[in-house]
Amino acid sequence: MEKIFNQLSDSLFSELNSGENLILSFSGENSQFIRFNNATVRQTGLVDDADLGLKFIANNRTVRGGFTVSGNLDTDVVRGKAEITRMRTEAQEIPEDPFVVLPENSGSSHEVKSANGLPFENAVDSILPAMAGVDFVGIFANGRMFRGNANNLGQKHWFETESYSLDYSLVTPEHQMVKGSFAGSDWNQQDYEAYVKRSREKLTLMARKPIKVDTGNYRTWFESAAVADFLGMFSWNGISEASLRQGCSGFGRMRHDDVRLSPKFSVVEDFTPGFCPKFNSNGEVSSDQLVLIDNGELKNTLVSSRSAKEYGVESNFAEGGEYLRSPKMNSGSLNHEDVVTSIDKGLYLSNIHYLNWSDNAGGRITGLTRYACFWVENGEIVAPIETMRFDDSFYNFFGENLVDVEDKVSVNPEVETYGGRSLGATTCPGILVDDFALTL
């Protein structure tokens, strides 16, 4: 893939006229997808895909293009040249953009990670035996992923990695479920089987008859996976500088009214683990770490170079959409073994589902409990709960109602596959909060 990208880049840059700039962004994969239901194979297949994004800049106008890379250089060069011709024409028709971001050459990078993954032909027989006798449903995604970026000033980045993820649920006959996500680069059969064994043990807890919880406010523990979902909301009308400026961010109270969250709450954008490339689709490279919220205080927002120009602030080379790519929330002091006793009476939520802003300006988020969620009383797990809706503000649960934070963080890998397999992960601890609002 890298060779195709390099050859294609060279051909297309040679088409440019004086005063024209071109940024190329490449995203590809050679992937296997196996979908399971009832511990059988529902759908199985392979996908080869690669897209080239083109950003053409001339005369203070930006026009974008894009096409599927077939892998045949002649075909792809024809497609690329046609795109340049179209973009050149269009750049003469559209209005001027005062906030055009021109490419720079700030240095190149090259990162290729190889792994001893699971061969495509072995996947079914490696996965299914450990699931024997249990209602197992989920998706196995496996293979190589590619990201590239180059511009006509000579800057070039390449990122290539091999990984797998088995994202699954185990289900009891009474429809209670436990979530699992076994992901990595090197496949280790023993580790896999041990992971599944732990999931199956959790499932035994779900055999107790679920109880219905009344609406109201409860002391609540959120496992790391649930906290990761809350943090994910910051990427959508949240910590983006553009969202704040355009009046559609839940962070307005922190920006305008100097409201602070709990001193126990700190979040950084942290690229040091290498879950995803540090370069964005403009080819700009972020610093290893960017402090966003420090002990409850909003220190930085995500600022793209376009926002920087538009609003007169400094860019921190966020992606154009100003979303989190590799967030990490700092750990606290609560040991996981002490969680249930610390709840005493309330809720233990392993996962949450279908979040949305219900009052963006107020920071209020609604969603639902899902998977292994329990009622706790007298410091002991009593039984799973029936699905409940919550509706509460992060100014509460990351603010004054944040009681304690787990003393270790967990990595929650990004497993979405819309368009293609995603990169990145959210690293965070679990949290204990007071007065969390259940509404339905």
């Binding site: 239901n37 759908q43 892998g71 279908y354």
Partner: protein, 480 residues
């Protein structure tokens, strides 16, 4: 784009001992244009093009999505798809035969009178810029945008059992948005909520005077919302406009009736369903006023088509008749697995994904009440327009929606404007509280480009049309 590959010739390159082979070629180009805060922020065009090779071997389908559309590429893809199917076949969820892919031949062309090229990039930017200027009715509008996206899709499907289908689509997404803010009091008003204006149509849509009038209204309503009272809290009647009914239908009916969900395929991602296989023909889903159809034939609706991605011919069918659940959203595979009657809804997001059960156009048929008659029945309630927040549980029971624009209803009349209008409920009790259905004068056709489902994930276009509706005794509430 006219597809010029000879798929039948490519099929002759396939050399695997399969029960059935299908080739599905998809080309799709998106052309977005957007003006935000007076400057262009999106002008471009991106296309995706490839072939999904599907193979049936020993009762198991295997697939390979490839952009290499040469005979060698397709032959290689078929071999690897065949290998995947063979390996999985002894663990198959269901042992299919070729009846899972019925043979059909035909064509579909979505309706339009002006193609994409009929309106230049420059002319379109000019219209969008004028629309922006009409949105910006006050300095309190801190951000405004106007956007459109043209989508051109060509689909061709051939199979070893004789299917030969061509379908071409020209579609448009259009939106206007104005955000008014005063400190942390911030309110956004759009044109139908969350890209609700999505249709199969061409550039004839761009009636400048209508667009500018709407832009002006949206800007003024955003300002109105800024100073509006918060939506009251309590149990009361609600009248819901078609651009919110769209999402109510989508979340609490459409997804719940997808047969692959009911069969458990989606339990690890989108979720299961409160509906069970034995509920069809028995479950009183809603009041007698409720008539829901799967209608791929409604002209210009976003997800109209003649055949689904498995080659099944698409026809209009009632899913819920007089409130009774009668049919599920199951394509041919789900119909075989479940034994239920279904519809032609086996759809994929493109050439690189395998089809699954999806919504297409799911509509609420008009009733006989005028809008004034719906409002006139309400002593104390709220009228809500345009979705801005949505959430529902994995069984499709407990939902919550927020709307951009509300009006108080007092003694049968619309009165004050309300901001932060929200309501919540549980699907079947909610639909059984349906007390009034608007007539065809209140009917609106909407859609969304962003319906997510499936593993691997797929985002797909759906259409929803509905009249305004009245529901009684609903939990309503406001902001923080």
């Amino acid at each position: 784009m006219k597809l010029d590959l000879d798929l039948k010739q490519l099929m002759s390159a396939v050399d695997v001992p399969a029960q059935w082979v299908g080739l599905r070629e998809v080309y799709e180009a998106h052309t977005p244009r957007m003006i935000r805060d007076g400057v262009p922020v999106a002008n471009g065009r991106a296309a995706t093009h490839g072939i999904m090779v599907e193979v049936l071997a020993d009762g198991q389908f295997g697939y390979y999505g490839t952009p290499n559309m040469t005979p060698e590429g397709i032959a290689n893809a078929a071999k690897k798809a065949f290998q995947q199917a063979k390996i999985a076949s002894c663990h198959a969820t269901y042992e299919f035969d070729e009846t899972a892919r019925p043979s059909h031949q035909g064509n579909y062309q979505s309706p339009y009178t002006k193609n994409r090229e009929s309106l230049s990039a420059g002319a379109l930017n000019e219209t969008l810029l004028e629309a922006y200027n009409h949105l910006k009715v006050s300095d309190k509008i801190v951000s405004a945008s106007s956007l459109c996206q043209v989508i051109e899709t060509s689909f061709r499907f051939v199979s070893t059992n004789g299917s030969d289908i061509n379908q071409d689509f020209l579609m448009l997404e259009f939106d206007l948005s104005a955000t008014a803010a005063d400190g942390t009091n911030q309110q956004t008003r759009t044109f139908g909520g969350m890209r609700g204006t999505c249709r199969q149509m061409g550039m004839e849509y761009f009636d400048k005077y209508e667009i500018l009038a709407n832009a002006n209204r949206i800007g003024e309503q955003a300002i109105e919302l800024l100073d509006a009272e918060d939506c009251p809290t309590g149990e009361m009647d609600v009248v819901i406009a078609p651009d919110q009914m769209m999402l109510q239908i989508h979340e609490s009916i459409g997804h719940a009736l997808e047969v692959d969900r009911i069969l458990g395929d989606e339990r690890n991602y989108a979720g299961w369903s409160f509906v069970k296989l034995e509920d069809f023909g028995k479950l009183q889903y809603g009041s007698k006023l409720m008539n829901i159809t799967f209608d791929p034939t409604l002209e210009s609706e976003f997800a109209s088509y003649a055949y689904d991605d498995g080659g099944l011919k698409a026809t209009k069918e009632y899913l819920i008749k007089d409130g009774l659940l009668v049919r599920g959203l199951g394509g041919q595979e789900s119909q075989i697995r479940s034994g239920l009657d279904g519809v032609a809804n086996f759809r994929s997001s493109g050439w690189n994904r395998a089809p699954i059960d999806r919504m297409a156009n799911i509509n609420l048929e008009p009733g006989d009440s005028t809008f004034d008659e719906l409002i006139g029945q309400v002593e104390n309630g709220v009228y809500m327009e345009s979705n801005k927040s949505w959430s529902i549980d994995d069984y499709r029971n407990k939902f919550q929606f927020g709307c951009e624009y509300g009006r108080l209803i007092e003694n049968g009349k619309l009165t004050k404007v309300l901001k932060n209008s929200n309501y919540r409920g549980i699907s079947t009790p909610f639909w059984n509280s349906l007390k009034g259905v608007g007539n065809s004068d209140t009917f609106g056709i909407y859609g969304t480009p962003n319906c997510g489902k499936g593993e691997p994930n797929q985002v797909i276009r759906v259409g929803h049309a509905s009249p305004a509706c009245l529901f009684e005794n609903i939990q309503v509430f406001g902001g923080v």
